[in-house]
Amino acid sequence: MDITLFLQQFLNGLSIGSIYAIFALGYTLVYSILGIINLAHGAIFTLGAYFTYALMGGSFGFNGLLANAALPIKLPFAIALILGSTLAGLIGVVMERVAFQPLRRQGSDPLLTVVSSLGVAVVIVNLIQYLVGAESYTYPADTYGNLPPSINFGTQEKEIPIRTVQIIIFAVSVGIVAIITYFINRTKYGKAMQAIAEDPTTASLLGINSDRFIILTFFISSFLAGLAGTLVASSVSIAGPYFGIAFGLRGLAVIVLGGLGSIPGAVLGGLLIGLVEAFVPAEYSGYKEAVAYGILFIMLLVRPQGLLGRRFIQKV
């Protein structure tokens, strides 16, 4: 592989990997606090994309029950992105109250909560299809203003074109990861969340309201999913109600590779899987997912706790 192609695929891998990273951050946050995998995370990813689409265009699209239903406002992309992701975050809170909290109060097995989250995912995906149909929706051409569609990082002879949207996605992802890392490690709320993750009972004795922080965790997690969904949709299109399913599975692989519950692990895992997929040779390009998951299997055999995860120690 010549250096031009190497650089090209490296940049491609970084851009897609950065999206995997912020998507997986949401998974990791919920896992850290509750010890469960929220399988509805992919569906929230899809919802975020649709919310932003509706807020930008002032309409829910042209199919389903809401066909041509108009909103009183049309917002610029940046504001729609924040509002759409916030709405996704609020849906996450509702989901927690309806599907997770009752089970938690019963002290039920985490596996049942996982099944419950799967049910929520199916309901959301089908509800989307019922309300806005199965069609793909694409954000307006001027979503990012008048920026050129791609930028050449190479020379005139040896071009390395990168889509502008990918650079924006990468920049936003880096910013989000920095904010989340700061929030978790440096703020009072973040430290309280860490305390709950470490030992919910002791955290309660110290006066931390666990219930409130679980809601906050679900909000942030779903906000990140909605944000990732919107960024991906602005790069490709909303490929129907099932848009987030593949991302949901990929996100699982990312957090396992990075180390369950590890925020730096989610970022590293996301970037690694993105890079691995980008470097799959052309003749095997259709198998890039299989290659990524193959590496995951090997990783689990060699280092079951993931790249940056802590080894589980059972005290006897």
Binding site: V122, V123, Q129, A134, P149, R163, V236, G240, S285, G286
Partner: protein, 415 residues
């Protein structure tokens, strides 16, 4: 397990099933237990006769990522039902479409076929949506001796599944090479060709082989073959791999969402040559994916809204009145499939009153009438080979022309 957990799980499951049933314009969901092959086979000995409206099964995808294509077919069938019933149906007896959602997988198609054959007791079936599904579901109908007309199955080998399997969707081998010829006419300097195809779909694999064969026959150089999945959205690695080889032509075999995204990313990364889309991109739904960047994509067609036949004018007008846009190929083909049933039933009814025929006899006789008839349809004049493949003379190539706003566009047919 305590009650709260059981209730929550039951509630969510029930909601999921109900909502699945609501998806996409009225298709119902097959939740009946899967019948065994034996059940299907014994069904042929029933003596149930049709009374009242004559039920024709529609097994198309109303949900899943294939719903985009299935719903187009469903619309065509509904327009045909309304039109032919307004013309007196089958010599005075109306037809009634009974729809079952096949979803996007093989199991869904098999369930839909089983239900239509055993529970709804249809005289014949239009569907399923994908060739991949047809290879699994059509043998069910074949064993039950129920006629099937594929309206969107273009892979090689579909009619050969059995005596009761026919199609009105011309095989990809007849349709696809036309767009390559059109591309060479637009740019005779084309030398290097890059091919992309969705490797997880039987139709797209079949179509790409036809395209690659046509490329070789034209003496062109196949510089790369890139594979993807119909569920993929990010194609930057594949697109840049191909662009680096400086192709003059790109040929894509995929579905609307993935194919449209691939077109978009190729264009944004700077590819300026001609793009040919396969049959999966042959839907106005692709326009909303790549928008302004769809402009110029060439797609071979088995149907043209501009075909001057009388029945096509009626069909086109009915469609435009309802949807304010031109009908897609799959819509035209599913209208045609229902038309074939109607005309074959009419002929059969004149020979022996179909209301007096036992269901199994009716299905067998209907199959013979379908294969022996000639039909003037929106696709032009068609007939069937003895094995059940469509005989069609008119094929077209369309080029996507996007409007200035970049949001709307149409398929403009190249003379």
């Amino acid at each position: 397990m305590n009650n709260a957990i059981a209730q929550t799980t039951a509630l969510l499951s029930t909601c999921a099933l109900l909502l699945t049933g609501c998806g996409g314009g009225g298709g119902s969901v097959t939740n009946t237990p899967t019948s065994t092959t034996n059940n299907t086979t014994t069904n042929t000995t029933q003596t149930t006769t049709t009374s009242g409206a004559i039920p024709i099964g529609i097994a198309l995808a109303q949900t899943s990522n294939v719903a985009l294509l299935g719903q187009e077919g469903f619309v065509g069938a509904r327009i045909a039902e309304k039109y032919f019933n307004s013309k007196g149906g089958i010599n005075g007896t109306p037809i009634k479409l009974v729809s079952q959602d096949t979803s996007g997988d093989e199991a869904g198609a098999i369930n839909a076929f089983q239900t239509l054959i055993n529970k709804d007791k249809v005289v014949g079936i239009v569907g399923p949506t994908l060739s991949q599904q047809a290879f699994s579901a059509d043998p069910i109908a074949e064993r039950a001796k129920v006629p099937v007309i594929g309206a969107s199955n273009t892979a090689n080998g579909i009619p050969e599944i059995g005596d009761y399997i026919a199609r009105v969707s011309a095989p990809v081998s007849k349709v696809a090479p036309n767009s390559l010829k059109a591309a060479l006419k637009q740019n005779p300097q084309i030398k290097k060709v890059a091919v992309f195809y969705a490797q997880n779909d039987a139709f797209n694999k079949s179509e790409t082989e036809i395209f690659q064969q046509a490329v070789r026959e034209q003496g062109l150089e196949l510089v790369t073959v890139q594979k993807f999945q119909t569920t993929d959205t990010d194609f930057q690695a594949q697109a840049t791999n191909a662009i680096n080889l400086k192709p003059d032509l790109v040929i894509i075999s995929g579905l609307a969402a993935d194919g449209g995204n691939l077109v978009r990313q190729l264009r944004e990364l700077g590819y300026k040559g001609i793009i040919i889309g396969g049959n999966g991109l042959n839907t106005p739904n692709v326009l909303s994916v790549c928008k302004a960047l769809c402009d110029g994509v060439l797609i071979a067609q088995a149907y043209s809204p501009e075909y001057p036949g009388e029945i096509n004018k009626v069909f086109r007008q009915a469609y435009i009145e309802q949807y304010k846009k031109e009908p897609a190929q799959f819509t035209g083909q599913s209208f045609t499939a229902v038309q074939v049933y109607v005309e074959a039933l009419k002929k059969l009814d004149k020979k022996s009153k179909i209301s007096t025929l036992p269901l199994d006899k009716l299905r067998t006789e209907l199959n013979k009438e379908i294969l022996s008839g000639e039909y003037d349809t929106p696709l032009g004049k068609i007939g069937f080979t003895p094995v059940g493949d469509v005989v069609q003379s008119e094929f077209y190539v369309a080029q996507i022309k996007m409007d200035k706003d970049g949001n709307t566009g149409k398929f403009v047919f190249i003379k």
